[in-house]
Symmetry: C2
Subunit: 194 residues, 2 copies
DNA sequence: CGATTCTTTGAAAACAGTCAATCTGTGTGG
DNA sequence: CCACACAGATTGACTGTTTTCAAAGAATCG
């Protein structure tokens, strides 16, 4: 069942199991949503009204700069998807978020997130840890981006997220790495020779 | 006085002014520290024991990969400096943090941060907002890194942090942008022609 | 099967990196 | 106060990597 994935997720981040009552409050704050492949959760210019918890499926967040897609983020099961800036500031987003596979999602608005932070301590703790982990992960990616060659960034990605290789087409992996699909194809060719 | 900068900072992030008692608890958790230019707050291999609030001065966080410095982060007045990963996980850091100018800092340990989160609601709120803002800023930088040319990244930096230009030498700006000092010099030359 | 999308390959051009030399400005010690 | 050393910035020539554009091969899906 959809909400069980969320319960498991929350329990991972807190020392003690969340109580039935608290979890009830949490789950009431979410709306289930099914997205078909290629459907959008967010389109550039709109405000990101929802943060999605991915129960099943895969998504991406990307900008479109004169015809070129730049993927900043992939999401799979048990990950959160949203444009944090737009979601919290209620400003129009420059990003698109769409489904790369059919998805089962749980959606929550910013208001509800705030309410849960105040009323469910375990949620508050989890949310803080999430932000914290997210910013650590982002910092790693920045370091990779400025200090490693495209080849090393690719090798790092294989190590850290091998599942991405099976799941996403190469042109999207290339976009995520900040290179062209042609370059990635050549890097793979070169690596295969070893 | 050193702590006044911190009080101002906290009040910026909370709707109501922090009480004297609460601020007392906060300020007791910090240790003032003066760092001379070129002195280290953190050296690679060590655990990042402190997060520093910069009252005065400027710092940088960088890795050293076979002789090349890669600056991931600059800090100036009213910014926080620390390797978040090492600081929270208590793992050895791969980064160095040193002073680019003589600095007045306020240092706090991870234990104290946790205590303040539990005992001072305003601190807790501020800390959560800080993390949140930080991860938004990091996401922007990733987007820049993967989707913009070096020239556009440089122009963006001038817009978002013009003070960096006056304050830091060009070779460090180059490192922050992920290019060589020579490349940045040529980019500047090209831009000057317009 | 045909259509579409994804990947690979090739050749040329644009871009960024390396190495070495020169130039500029700053600060220190004689 | 000058001369010198030093760090940072610029320039040139060269090399290497990545992009671009175009075309040809796979793979996938209806």
């Amino acid at each position: 069942m959809m909400f069980e994935a969320l319960r498991k997720y929350i329990n991972q981040y807190t020392s003690s199991e969340i109580s039935e009552g608290a979890f009830d409050t949490v789950s009431k704050s979410f709306t289930p949503k099914h997205l078909l492949k290629r459907q959008f959760l967010l389109q550039a210019g709109d405000v990101c009204k929802y943060t999605a918890f991915i129960v099943k499926g895969a998504m991406r967040q990307y900008s479109l700069v004169n015809g070129v897609e730049n993927i900043v983020y992939f999401g799979i099961e048990n990950w959160w998807m949203s444009d944090r800036e737009s979601f919290t500031m209620l400003t129009p987003s420059q990003f698109n978020i769409d489904a790369l596979e059919d998805c089962d999602l749980l959606l929550i608005t910013h208001d509800k997130v705030q309410l849960l932070k105040e009323s469910v301590p375990q949620w508050n703790k989890m949310a803080a840890q999430m932000d914290h982990r997210h910013s650590i992960a982002m910092q790693k990616r920045i370091h990779d981006a400025i200090s490693l060659t495209a080849e090393d960034r690719f090798l790092n990605l294989i190590k850290s997220n091998p599942e991405f290789m099976q799941r996403f087409p190469q042109n999207m992996i290339a976009s995520y790495l900040g290179i062209t699909p042609e370059s990635l194809s050549r890097i793979r060719k070169k690596l295969a020779k070893k």
